[in-house]
């Protein structure tokens, strides 16, 4: 039974199908904002299988083993993080106290894999992309952690179950976390390397960033990871900021879909309306504004917790 859950729901197969669906949704919203018709519904699937059928080129001077292993690591870390996030009930598949922190750290691994992939590719463009990815990690990571931990401080628990229990008992307290939610959305945009924070893979300047040398199956796996990351981050934000679940599985599942689609919609609108920032502008913006507001939010939450 457990194996079945890990494989089907909420595991590998659900994650794959849902990440294709969300990529399509993301692209169609983006196209609509540009007054276009957008791709047909099967586009993400066609892209994935086309890449599977293509030749894999490994540059001569690159370590073959690591070049091939890194995409697998990145995807595995995403899947592991996904298994710890509650989707349809307050408890995830393997709940324990502190699972929120573990998920946050697991989510760092894909970004590190992107960095390493670019770094070992030994191309100029991939190297630049890798360095930018790492620089951006230092910019968005702190505000993202602050924004996600602020609600947890108010709930006095480092676990998703605890957060859900507290906010179900005091729904009004959700409103306190609105600034944190906005920070989390912006930082998530940086985490997912989407416009305006897409300097690491800016295709008009540095070809394709860290993925420049990747082709065929390996590139398919990397793109798959990026799609899956979108699902994982959307689920994470839903689990922390909108921790409400119905007792019925079906209703709960629909609720989950609505929550994640809502979050991806906000992310897609962001992507469609913004232009790219330079890397030092990203760092300055994150440290000047996001962290400032994040600190205020944490102080506010500590005071409220003491007062009530």
């Amino acid at each position: 039974m457990e194996f079945f859950q890990m494989l089907v729901f909420p595991g590998l197969i659900f994650l794959s199908v849902y990440s294709f669906a969300l990529e399509y949704f993301d692209r169609i919203v983006y196209a609509r904002l540009q007054n276009r018709q957008g791709p047909p519904w099967y586009q993400p699937i066609a892209d994935f299988f086309k890449l599977l059928g293509k030749e894999v080129i490994v540059p001569a001077s690159v370590s073959k083993l690591w070049f091939k292993l890194l995409p697998v690591f990145a995807y595995a870390a995403n899947l592991a993080a996904f298994l710890y996030i509650p989707l349809t009930s307050a408890n995830s598949l393997y709940p324990f106290s502190g699972d929120l922190i573990v998920v946050l750290y697991l989510l760092t691994i894909p970004t590190l894999c992107f960095f390493l992939a670019g770094y070992i590719s030994e191309g100029v463009y991939s190297g630049l992309g890798a360095v930018r990815a790492l620089t951006q990690l230092f910019a968005y990571e702190v505000p993202l952690f602050m924004a996600l931990l602020a609600p947890a401080i108010l709930a006095d628990s480092w676990s998703f179950a605890g957060i859900s229990a507290y906010y179900s008992a005091h729904p009004i307290m959700m409103l306190v976390n609105i600034p944190a939610f906005i920070i989390a959305i912006i930082a998530a945009q940086g985490k997912l390397e989407r416009t305006p924070f897409d300097a690491p893979e800016a295709e008009t300047e540095i070809v394709a960033g860290a993925f420049t040398e990747y082709s065929g199956k390996l590139l398919a796996l990397f793109r798959f990871t990026v799609d899956a990351e979108l699902v994982v981050v959307a689920s994470l934000l839903a689990a922390v900021f909108l921790p409400f679940y119905a007792s019925n599985f079906i209703i709960s599942f629909i609720l989950y879909l609505l929550k994640t689609v809502f979050i991806v919609f906000i992310l897609a609108v962001f992507k469609g309306l913004m232009a790219r920032l330079r890397i030092e502008q990203i760092v300055a913006f994150c440290w000047k504004w996001l962290i400032g507001i994040g600190l205020l939010q944490i102080v506010l939450n500590v005071i409220i917790k003491g007062a009530f």
């Binding site: 007054n35 892209d47 293509k54 030749e55 295709e203």
Partner: protein, 191 residues
């Protein structure tokens, strides 16, 4: 054919990623290619995305007659692409050399250097024609006839250096030549 192969064949037709290369066009055709990628024509309807890296792309969209300067680079980019790959020649110059055909520095159309699967003539080719050409290419991907049987491949460095000598014998041109050789060496190492 097993189902997975069939699926991949289907996917290849539905998801062509293009990379655009200017081999020596007057820029008229390039503007039309960029125009075809704008929201007005919305090439994403057919799954077309523009990619920056030749490793990611399936279709190499070339414009302009191939000059001696770009011949090597064009070949290089073509070699860097992952199989299966296709070349589309956009514009009269790319098809045959066009008005630049007889220039001393021009090798001819794109097919003088790499095999071409689709020719889209026009000076400049209209965006509608480009889209039509790409879609027709996709719908006939399985047709083996579209693939040129004997691709003409230039013998990179030496041939190029000889031709440069011939064309510019009158002038002293050591600087350009050295630059040319170094560049070619560098490109080969990169590839």
């Amino acid at each position: 054919m097993n189902p997975l192969k069939k699926l991949i064949k289907w996917a290849q037709r539905k998801s062509p990623w293009i990379i655009h290369f200017n081999a020596g066009a007057c820029n008229g055709c390039d503007i039309e290619v960029v125009d075809a990628l704008t929201p007005r024509f919305d090439l994403e309807r057919f799954g077309v995305l523009q990619k920056g890296s030749p490793r990611h792309a399936d279709v190499l969209v070339c414009t302009g007659a191939v000059t001696m300067q770009t011949a090597d680079r064009l070949k290089n980019i073509y070699d860097q692409m992952a199989e299966p790959k296709f070349v589309v020649a956009v514009g009269t110059c790319a098809c045959s050399g066009g008005v630049f055909g007889d220039c001393y520095c021009v090798k001819g159309g794109i097919d003088a250097v790499i095999p071409v699967s689709a020719y889209i003539p026009g000076c400049a080719a209209r965006p509608e024609a480009i889209i039509d050409g790409v879609v027709k290419l996709l719908s006939t991907l399985e047709d083996k006839k579209l693939q040129p049987k004997n691709p003409i491949v230039i013998n990179s460095e030496k041939e190029l250096a000889d031709m440069l000598d011939e064309a510019e014998a009158a002038e002293e041109n050591t600087e350009t030549e050295n630059f040319e050789e170094n560049k070619a060496k560098e490109d080969n190492e990169n590839a």
